[in-house]
């Protein structure tokens, strides 16, 4: 089968002072091909750990991640990743960044150029392909990162707060771009975010995680991602159902944060 299967993931690691942290506890999730999923939760809920395990940068202490029927044992080209920032290669220009994956595979020049031209056109950076990446704004750099990930044609795209470092306006535009790319390419996307609005807008399913130990707290099925494709996201946000969900989830996360604070105070 195609798709992503997360089975009973647990992650526990020892600290230098002899204690240990249960970063994840029995997380199971089944993600269909072409689905976009957003993951939300207070800090310390293990969402980045989860993503790193799926990407193959970390090995879980128990459980497994299966993709296309095989178990994840390390990073691979089938699972592309978009980082918050700092992941572009400054010594390459925009085009060289974008076609890095195909180049490493040994794809011929002409085909690589076709792919990078096409993707740079989609993300609106056609005129910037020979620029150095450090000459671009933060939003443009993230578009390059998206294009670079897509150029490698992965099955799953993992996004670790890809829009977290952008200003509010750029962020909104980029949310539209992410939706557009998701729909056009039909990729499976897992997106981690701190923003409730972003999680609602960009997730067909929204996973709310809870901390200590990191676990899945609640799963929502949402219509907004499909509605948002090609539409004005500000209109989507005006939907009363959107506002309701936002308040509900915000309240949930507030509660969790309060609980963490309470526990921290009790421990003192």
């Amino acid at each position: 089968m195609s798709g992503l299967e997360i089975k009973h993931l647990s992650m526990r690691f020892d600290l230098p002072n002899g204690s240990w942290v249960q970063a994840l506890h029995d997380v199971s999730l089944s993600i269909a091909e072409g689905e976009i999923i957003s993951v939300l939760g207070p800090s310390g809920c293990g969402k980045t750990t989860l993503l790193n395990i799926v990407a193959g940068f970390l090995a879980p202490t128990s459980g497994s991640v299966e993709i296309n029927g095989h178990t994840v044992r390390g990073p691979a080209a089938e699972r592309g990743m978009v980082f918050q920032k700092g992941a572009l290669f400054e010594w390459m220009n925009v085009r060289e960044n974008v076609d890095f994956g195909p180049r490493m595979k040994g794809m011929p020049r002409a085909e690589r150029d076709r792919i990078s031209d096409h993707l740079l056109e989609i993300v609106g950076l056609r005129d910037f392909k020979d620029k150095a990446v450090y000459e671009l704004s933060g939003g443009m750099q993230q578009r390059v990162a998206l294009a670079r990930c897509l150029a490698n044609d992965p099955d799953v795209i993992l996004m670790d707060e890809p829009l977290g470092a952008l200003d509010a306006l750029t962020r909104e535009k980029m949310q539209g771009l992410v939706l557009k790319l998701w729909k056009e390419t039909g990729k499976t996307v897992i997106l981690i975010t701190h923003s409730v609005e972003e999680a609602l807008l960009l997730g067909e399913r929204l996973i709310v995680m809870a901390p200590r130990p990191g676990r899945i707290h609640e799963i929502y099925n949402l219509p907004f991602a499909d509605a948002g494709v090609g539409a004005d996201l500000r209109e989507v946000k005006k939907d009363p159902a959107f506002g309701e969900k936002r308040e509900e989830i915000l309240g949930m996360i507030w509660e969790m944060e309060e609980e963490i604070m309470g526990r921290a105070e009790a421990a003192e």
Partner: protein, 420 residues
């Protein structure tokens, strides 16, 4: 002290003049010039090129002024040169006193002029003459020809002031000190200028430059001396980099390598290369091998540390991104780790070249047949101060040029430095 105050005054005065001139001229309105908070804002502090130019000119002016250079219109008072006279009063055995004149010719060192002529004069004290070089002093036995045969005559005053052994009296254009045995020691006034053997005039150094450039020095041309020094530096540095960079990479990529070499590197790093000279000479001899080994060691630790820092400095997200894009370990090494470490390696290379250049000169001071350092040390043995200064200037210029070239290469090869 006076010189220091003068220099400070020059610093302040030229600032005031340039500042005033700038206020009259039209202002360029770039972003920095519009900043109101500049004190404490490092980015607003840019070197004032006018100050640099004035600073260099000032050094040459001061140098010229204190060496009596022909290129500089203003001089500090120079040493006295020419004829001067002073009087002394002698007393004979009978207790009579008589006054006579000593005429002294002060001449440039190296010339041998005839003594000036003078009438013997009347009275039992006879006039005397003497010849003395500038900056030198001369013992004048003025009383030797005074009085009669076997008569003891002693000097009791010079220029009208009483004198006794070990006392000094000011006379026109110099001082007179009485020695323990009653003779007079005349030292002409030296002024404030430096004797050429301490500090030659700029034009002397320039003339010496052309002389050595065309005739060579100590069996080798100037270019051979400098070329050999440079060659040693380049070979030593390249060897150090060729060994140090891979080792640094290995230390940045493998815990075993780092654990193994850390104590060695951290121990050797603070040892100045000059401290290794004796050992290197004992092991490898004083010829080229020894020098290259020394420079190799000087460059090695710096290059290891910079390569290691370059690898450690790579942002983990770049490595993760490259793995996610399907790159192999070798591809990550070639396309991510190496380019990412280049800025650090260039910084290290600049430091290493500087250290090597300093070390080669020092090594040549100890033992060499050719080289910039050898030129200096050979010249100093013959008190050829102009060659010593010439050597220092050339060493400085070459060291500075190396650094500028390295910076150019850096800006060209790693334009992304500091912009990640």
């Amino acid at each position: 002290m006076t010189l220091l105050l003068f220099y400070a005054a020059l610093f302040a005065l030229s600032f005031a003049v340039v500042y005033a001139a700038r206020r009259l001229a039209t202002q360029r309105q770039d972003f920095t010039s519009l900043k109101t908070v500049t004190f404490g804002d490092e980015s607003a502090v840019r070197p004032d090129r006018a100050a640099s130019i004035i600073s260099v000119i000032a050094i040459f002016l001061i140098w010229g002024a204190f060496t009596g250079s022909r290129l500089v219109p203003v001089h500090v008072p120079g040493p006295f040169q020419g004829l001067t006279e002073f009087t002394y009063t002698a007393e004979n055995e009978a207790g009579e006193q008589d006054t006579a004149i000593v005429r002294v010719l002060v001449h440039e060192v190296g010339r041998d002029p005839d003594p000036p002529e003078i009438e013997p004069g009347d009275g039992f004290a006879r006039n005397d003459t003497a010849v003395v070089g500038m900056w030198r002093s001369e013992l004048i036995r003025a009383q030797a020809n005074d009085g009669g045969e076997d008569e003891e005559v002693r000097i009791v005053a010079v220029a009208g002031q009483p004198i006794e052994p070990d006392r000094t009296v000011e006379v026109p254009n110099g001082t007179v000190t009485m020695s323990g045995r009653g003779s007079l020691n005349f030292a002409p006034a030296t002024g404030m200028q430096m004797e050429p053997i301490w500090l030659p005039a700029p034009e002397t150094v320039v003339a010496r430059f052309f002389e050595i450039a065309s005739n060579g020095y100590q069996n080798f041309t100037l270019w051979q001396h400098l070329g050999w020094s440079l060659l040693r530096v380049v070979v030593g540095f390249l060897l150090g980099a060729a060994v140090g960079i891979p080792l640094g990479y290995a230390m940045g990529l493998s815990g075993w390598f780092r654990g193994w070499f850390d104590p060695i590197v951290e121990f050797m790093r603070p040892v100045p290369p000059l401290a290794l000279i004796p050992l290197v000479i004992i092991w490898f001899g004083i010829w080229e091998t020894g020098k290259i080994v020394l420079l190799f060691l000087a460059a090695l630790w710096i290059m290891i540390i910079s390569a290691r820092a370059g690898v450690s400095g790579v942002n983990i997200t770049k490595i993760h991104a490259a793995y996610s894009l399907g790159a192999s370990k070798w591809q990550i090494m070639r396309h991510v780790i190496v380019p990412n470490s280049l800025p650090e390696i260039f910084t290290g290379a600049r430091v290493a070249m500087g250290v090597c250049w300093g070390t080669v000169v020092a090594a040549e001071l100890v033992a060499a047949q050719k080289g910039a350092g050898m030129m200096i040390i050979a010249a100093s043995k013959f008190q050829l101060t102009d060659i010593v200064i010439l050597g220092i200037v050339l060493i400085g210029i070459i060291g500075y040029s190396i650094d500028i070239l390295m910076r150019r290469a850096e800006a060209w090869l790693v334009p992304w430095k500091g912009r990640a």
